[in-house]
Amino acid sequence: MEAAVWVIILPLLTAFFIGISKVYVKKIFVPLVISSAIIYLYLLILVINNSYPPNVYSVGAWRLIGINLMVDPFSGLFLLIIALLFLPVIIFSVKYIKSYKHEYFIFTYIMTAGIAGMVLTADLFNLYVFLEVSSLSSCALVALKKTNKGLEGAYKYLVMSTLGSFFILLATILTYYLTGTLNIAEISLEFNEIPFKIKSALMAFFVFGYVLKIGLIPLHFWLPDTYEDSPIPYNVLSSGLVMKSAVYALIKVLYIIFGIDFLDKSGLLQIGVFWGVITFIVAHLLAFQQSNLSRLLAYSSIAQIAYIMIGLFVGTEGGLIGGNFHILNHAIMKGTLFLVTAIFYYSLSAVNIEDIKGLAYKFPILSFTFVVASLAIVGLPPFNGFISKWLIVEAALESGFVYAAFFILVGTFLSLTYYLKVIITLYTKNDKEIVVEEPGLSLSLPTIFLGSLCIVFGVVPSLPLRLINKIPTFLLDNGEYIRVLLGG
């Protein structure tokens, strides 16, 4: 699997070459960016196709004594998300980003490399390093506009992510001390002999560190701040990839290293589901109060991540399928919403909800896309969000979390209240004459592509589910992962 390592190297190389092209060869900038994104898409598809059966790429050919990259269905799903989001966002931002263009692309590519690294690596410390890469570069993207709010958001983000990283690092160091290795599979084997108490303390540190990045209540406060005044195409990647990559890392650590039996015994599953329920209800209540569109979408992201966490913490096959499917769906839906918001911002610099009044009559197709995506995120049929929510609720009911299932439906209702508010404002006629700048094809095409995916995955969910269906056996029984990583 040569392609696996290329998935990490190619964006890095692109970022470095953009740095050179900023100084010397300025003309090749746009072709470089676009062609690299296209090649990257090809690479990702190659890797995703080979993600089952799982295989290992050993960096430096050191096998067990070095760092390994593991391509499995779970990471295949994340690579799929990158594949779906990355090229549209890059095409979108080539026209959208006007100032600090080079930096924007450098950071975006580095961030993608970091996320790909987090997703692929099978080494605990390497995970931390790539986590740091992705969070530092995304922090830079938050501050890209250099406005007051952007800087403040960046600072808060930096503080929180660093704090989380330190706890993850502490847990990693202690893990190394206990097991003498950093390879996830070996740690998992060694962990069988570690006493319960130490394991649960380590788990608390891991959970705290990653949840700080995921943003469950009450660790969510930095998240809306980072969304408010940052370049909106970045928000697409942020909600679609950065937050999700933390979810990915957490789930990988919990399910592979600690194992489902331990999670059940230590009560994390119950705590996680309860936490998720609290989170989405509070997030919905808060989202209703927002007047800034990006902020509203950020709170909605928190709520959606809570749904995902419920799905993943239910701990059954159905729950994992539902949660993973919702990860994919949320990336698509939120991506669409943010891109439409970005076009509004581009055309008349409107980010507050009052500002978008009457825009539906200026951008009929884009507004329709917005409506589709928001109904999908609310969870109404026949869009994709409905299918994944259905799966999550079904799984929650099956494994006895009746309250969680019920509150997910309540949450659906609550989320409708604020999305409908936005939609209605969109369709209210505005007395003022609106002068808009035409977005053009390169902005609207990626948006419509993502929006159409909402419907496609809703009507034909078997398309992504073919990949996702392989995940649960893989996570619930960490034996296969260990076998592949150690022996395969």
């Binding site: 406060f221 701040d225 509070v282 209703f288 409905f386 409708l416």
Partner: protein, 518 residues
Amino acid sequence: MITPGFLYFIGAILLLFPVYEKLKYMLSFLVTVAAIIITLHLIPGYSVQLDFLTFTLVPFKVDNINKLTGLIFAVGGLAAVIYSISMCSLSHLRLIFVFIGSALTAVFSGDLFTLYVAWELMTISSSFLIIMTSDVTKKTGYYYFLMHVAGGLSLLWGIFLQYSATGNFSLNNIEVGIPFFMIAIAIKLAFVGFHTWLPLAYSKAPFYVAVILSIYTTKVGVYVMSRLLSGINSLAYAGLISALFGIAMSLKQKRVLKLLCYSIIIQVGFMIIGISIGTTEGITGAIFHLVNHILYKTVLFMVVGVVIYTTGKDSFENLGIMGRKLPITSIATFVAFMGIAGVPFFNGYMSKSIIKEAIQDPILTLGLNVMSFGTCIIFLKFIYYAFFKNSDRKVDKKPPVSMQLGIGFLTVLMLLVGIHPFFLENLTNMHVDLHYFDKKHLLSGIQPFLWSIPIFILFKKYIVKNYERFLYFDIYLNMAKLFMTTGYHLSNYHDGKLNKYLLWATSTLIILLLLFMF
């Protein structure tokens, strides 16, 4: 075999392309007529199976009851589309097509999953119909959407409970989660307590939207109730109460559309009673009543629509123009009135007779009579203003041919059903062993009508008088306020102080450690 609902969806997709005026007419006519023809040729017992996710769905299943319902829906669709096509824009037409299509899908669905999807699609499309018409209707649309989604979610929860208990999506034997199904259907039916959306939506929305909504929204509820909740006897009393409430409310209304709205609640009461008896007769009667109700209530809405179209308002005084200047409308009004009053040889009579025949309980019989009587009184007010009160309103513009065509089509159907009630039975092989035109039924059918006329004349000044609007109390608005204030207080906690946030974070860490280690 293709489902008629699917046909409508195809029509909606075809309308997405830039279509010019004539093609639009042709396309909609083709789609609606084709839907009727297809529905006529459905064979009961046919079903389609589909594998979706992990379950096997039956998205299309035909039997007698839903064939009849589907047929009347298709007919209503034809009439409504013809009626409204000259006024509504392309985007509206699309939404109308989706709405009708999803209603038909819901009717023909053979499992709960498809039913839920179609149910929510109806909600979405109808809400956007309301939202997108004008700026006045935005709040109404918001309210309507939220109410219906709440109902839909309640249905969904019921489905989940049912599915986790039984492991299938069968429509037939609902065992678990009946209260949730009840709430869902109650919202759709505009039951007392859940009715608040109905007068708001139908009176605020433009009349052609109201026509289309009135055909499908509540009726799908009735149909689904007949499928899921038939035979729960106690519901009959609830239906009675609902109907009595409807009578009381509709007597107070100033606006014709609102009167019609509340009268829907009354008529739905009939159907609830029929269904909750649970016998074949009762359900058949309810479904027949649904057919008849669609026919006359649609005509009434259309008539009021014509009045609004020509005069611009829907107050009672404006009805007067009907008497002389709009002949087709007047005839239609009269026929519809006779139908709704249950006068023999008009269509409402047959289904009311069946329901009455099916009832064993004396209280319910009495209640049914009272309901018929009340309906008559309400619509006598309508008739009084339309034909007997002098009006000086002028007709600004003539209603277009398409509107009158729609009205005429339904009026003819009404007459047909009224004079030859076996027509419906033969159409769907649902035979009720009942002689419609024997003395007993004729007498009981005409009695409420006959009694109502002298009483109306006696108490005319009380009934015709326009009452002041009563204090409007809506519990849902109070709940919304609670929700808003909670959110406001919560958002006040997010005051941007990083130290405070970090304190929360550390406390969470300690709590996590405590939870995991002990």
